[in-house]
């Protein structure tokens, strides 16, 4: 008996002893708490993972050369000075002279110099570092420091995206991080944490992986100092938890919320839902290798048979609109003459009949040469809105005699199948960047890559290539409009909808500009109203 009692007491004691560890949530009154679904993945921008929030955090800690502005509605985005205070182009736009901010210092007091800029570029293109955006620097032929605060960059050829490509990735501290050989960078996440010096408005005050990240103002930052006392990112993976925490005060800002969440949060008295233009569009990509879907007339019939207006209304309410192009209507180069094809089941049936499809056995599905018009509609299983959309689309297509089977895959598995071209039709979404380079999705060179459906049109290829080289926005727009019209004619994609960028914040928190530039864009301007 004594043994039994001892064992039970031991188990209870162990349980209570271990469980007496307290939960440590400490808060400052002037801090802002942002809810995020995923954690950051390190502090080195060249080796940290692909999470958007990770990029945003490193962008608060390290200065870039310029600050890209979210003014893409009127024309190509403009850039404001950041580390580079002034810049001048050569006449042929192949040489750029940058004058750096001579007051900029690292958080250990060392000045930020042109040597940091050149060294960062060398690390960015070093194969041993394997930075995922290294190809963005392909256009740079050479870079050299001509003084402590002057850098000259030589480009291979004039390009409309030269500034954006040069600006990809922040400038890193050469005087500290050059101590580690590039070959060790990918296995030394903790080393960078221990040797973290920053140049941006915030510095890292703490990181509990999987739990929270804490940023506080960098006292050595010479620009506009943040008005808030601290910025805390709480990692809340479950969407229900994120909403609950916002409503009960555990979180002050949530970004990239769904229209359904926005509708629910808008009813809360102390919460404001913000809408911002987005560069995101949702589409159905048809696999042109499919014997039926490879025919334009079939794709047109399917597009006419989907009630996209109803779909958009049901799923997005007032927060979205039907898509017509891979360049959303919020972007300057969008072709405003494009009109979405109407929902017209009768015309869809006629088109299918013209293509030779008839329901010969009376089962409600049309056939040709004895083969029914049946295919798979796939999407990723973790996105409820896409799942719902596929159910709607399946129902719409059934009314025109087409049978679509829904297939839900885990995200990575779906990507694998799409990249291998092993799908019939897939529902996905892209956010286009401000380079407006559509080559990755529609150029024939990208077949086998992100041109999932194997779309090939030499006219589109040429227009995409011309647009890359154009420097004048109007000429570039002409090429991009041509691409959009050809895509509207050929229908390799059926564009479903465009969404607004939605975020929710506590009403007292002002200055937030969450949008396509990120959640934390201009976080130094955030403030609490009295």
């Amino acid at each position: 008996m004594r043994g039994t009692a001892t064992c039970l007491c031991l188990m209870l004691g162990l349980g209570l002893g271990v469980s007496s560890c307290a939960d440590g949530i400490t808060a400052r009154p002037d801090e802002v708490v942002v809810g995020t679904a995923v954690d950051i993945e390190g502090v080195n921008p060249l080796t940290a993972g692909a999470s958007r929030i990770g990029r945003e955090v490193t962008d608060r800690m390290f200065l870039r050369l310029f600050e890209e502005q979210p003014d893409f509605a009127a024309g190509p985005p403009t850039f404001l000075p950041a580390l580079a205070r002034r810049w001048t182009w050569s006449g042929d736009r192949t040489r750029l002279r940058l004058e750096l901010d001579s007051d900029a210092v690292w958080s250990d007091g060392t000045p930020v110099t042109s040597a940091d800029v050149v060294w960062t570029w060398r690390r960015q293109i070093d194969p041993a570092v394997a930075w995922p955006h290294a190809s963005s620097k392909d256009g740079i032929a050479h870079m050299r420091a001509v003084g402590p605060h002057v850098v000259v960059v030589r480009f291979r050829e004039p390009s409309a995206n030269a500034m954006a490509e040069l600006n990809e990735g922040p400038i890193l501290p050469r005087h500290v991080w050059s101590r580690l050989e590039p070959g060790h960078w990918r296995h030394s996440g903790d080393w960078f944490l221990r040797h973290l010096v920053v140049s941006g408005p915030f510095r890292l005050a703490g990181w509990q992986p999987g739990h929270e990240v804490r940023l506080v103002p960098n006292p050595r930052f010479r620009g506009d100092r943040p008005e808030i006392g601290a910025l805390r990112l709480r990692v809340l993976p479950h969407p229900a938890t994120r909403l609950l925490e916002l409503t009960r005060g555990g979180v002050d800002l949530l970004d990239s919320i769904t229209p359904e969440e926005a509708r629910r949060l808008a009813k809360q008295p102390d919460i404001v839902v913000d809408r911002a233009p987005s560069r995101r569009f949702t589409f159905l990509c048809w696999n042109l290798r499919h014997p039926f879907l490879g025919e334009r007339i079939v794709r047109e019939a399917l597009t006419l048979g989907i009630d996209r207006a109803g779909l958009t209304r049901d799923l997005l309410g007032l927060f979205g609109r039907i898509g017509t192009s891979p360049i959303p209507s919020s972007v300057w180069a969008h072709d405003r003459s494009l009109r979405p094809r109407p929902f017209d089941p009768e015309r869809a049936r006629r088109r299918l009949a013209e293509a030779g499809f008839r329901d010969t056995n009376g089962d409600g599905i049309v056939e040709r040469d004895g083969r029914p018009l049946r295919f798979e509609l796939s999407t990723n299983s973790d996105n409820a809105m896409r799942r719902d959309a596929l159910v709607h689309i399946q129902r719409h297509l059934r009314t025109i005699g087409v049978e679509a089977e829904i297939r839900l895959d885990e995200f990575n598995a779906l990507l694998d199948r799409n990249l291998a071209g092993e799908f019939d039709a897939t529902l996905g979404a892209w956010a286009i960047d401000t380079s407006l380079d559509l080559g990755w999705a529609f150029h024939s060179d990208s077949i086998g890559g992100y041109n999932y459906g194997a779309y090939a049109n030499p006219e589109v290829d040429r227009a995409i290539e011309r647009a890359r080289r154009r420097r004048h926005p109007r000429r570039r727009k002409d090429d991009l409009v041509l691409v959009q019209r050809l895509l509207d004619r050929d229908l390799p994609y059926t564009f479903l909808w465009e969404t607004d960028h939605l975020s929710a914040r506590r009403a007292r928190l002002t200055g937030v500009r969450a949008g396509p530039m990120g959640t934390l864009f201009r976080a130094r301007d955030w403030r609490w109203d009295a």
Binding site: L12, N44, T47, A128, A134, P237, N412, D416, Y450
Partner: protein, 296 residues
């Protein structure tokens, strides 16, 4: 002494073989899982050269057997490698996340014991009558409740600061049902009506019959069941940590599997497998020490 050493060697060999089987099975499973880790990091702008460089940096250019053998050799030297996502050592990840999961499971086990024991004893004492039937039905319902639904409901009902205790309650909820039923049955078996009557006739007080005699005979199967429920706790922690945003090992496994971060996923798998093997040893040892019959 010689028997003890032989037993230890036998046990160690069996544990090592089990771990090896788990390691190779997990490696094989990850190898056939669709979705390359490169997809997540390699965006649309990723050139074939960039892709090859990253594959080389992560050792993806080597074949699966070669990579798995290398990993095993590192493991034998106590090195778990570095995460593909953030380059931090897998050991650091585990050190950061294990305390949360240990705290959670310890709290859940404590709650389980504190609630299941009195309920089971009450049910055993009222065997066949209304309280027993009600408790058994309640335990069955509790056992069948979906963990995620319990988690979300409790999260809404409890203040934010008590989140980790609510998580422990969620984790304990379904096992309380199972343990109550198990303990009640063990108690009923340990205290047949005849024995109770005979012992009472000898003047032994009621509490002593139930607590001392009953518990001694019922404790062994229950202790074994509790330690054997460790894997169940770990799988439950996966859901609970996700909903309550607790940075534990369950979430680490989920995140690393989603990101195809093989080194971290393998590290968590190996540590979990070792914990399960230790749990099973503890269960057996506890059974032997509590039940004299098994010692023979």
């Amino acid at each position: 002494m010689g028997r003890l050493i032989r037993a230890l060697i036998r046990r160690g060999g069996a544990a090592g073989t089990s771990l090896l089987i788990v390691y190779w099975s997990a490696q094989a499973l990850f190898a056939v899982t669709p979705g390359s880790p490169l997809h997540r990091y390699a965006g649309r702008s990723f050139s074939p050269g960039d892709r090859a460089a990253l594959a080389r940096a992560w050792g993806l250019d080597e074949g699966v057997p070669h990579r798995a053998n290398g990993g095993l050799a590192d493991l034998a030297r106590g090195r778990l490698g570095a995460s593909w996502r953030d380059g931090r050592p897998v050991g650091s990840h585990l050190r950061e996340r294990l305390p949360t999961t240990l705290t959670l499971t310890a709290r859940a086990a404590t709650l389980e014991l504190l609630v299941a024991f009195p309920l089971a004893m009450w049910a055993a004492r009222t065997r066949g009558r209304a309280p027993d039937r009600t408790l058994r039905a309640g335990a069955a319902i509790l056992h069948s409740l979906p963990t995620v639904a319990v988690a979300i409901t409790l999260q809404h009902l409890t203040p934010a600061r008590t989140g980790s205790w609510a998580a422990a309650v969620t984790l304990a909820a379904s096992s309380i049902g199972a343990t109550t039923r198990l303990l009640r049955n063990a108690w009923v078996d340990a205290t047949p009506a005849g024995l109770v009557l005979a012992t009472r006739a000898r003047g032994v007080p009621d509490w002593r019959i139930w607590v001392v005699h009953g518990l001694r005979r019922a404790a062994a199967p229950v202790a074994q069941a509790l330690t054997a429920s460790l894997p169940m706790f770990l799988s439950g922690a996966l859901v609970v940590e996700q909903v309550f945003a607790l940075p534990g090992v369950g979430r680490l496994l989920l995140e690393s599997a989603r990101a195809r971060d093989l080194p971290v996923a393998m590290g968590v798998t190996c540590v979990t497998a070792a914990a399960v093997i230790l749990g099973s040893w503890a269960s057996e040892g506890l059974g032997r020490s509590l039940d004299p019959k098994t010692r023979r």
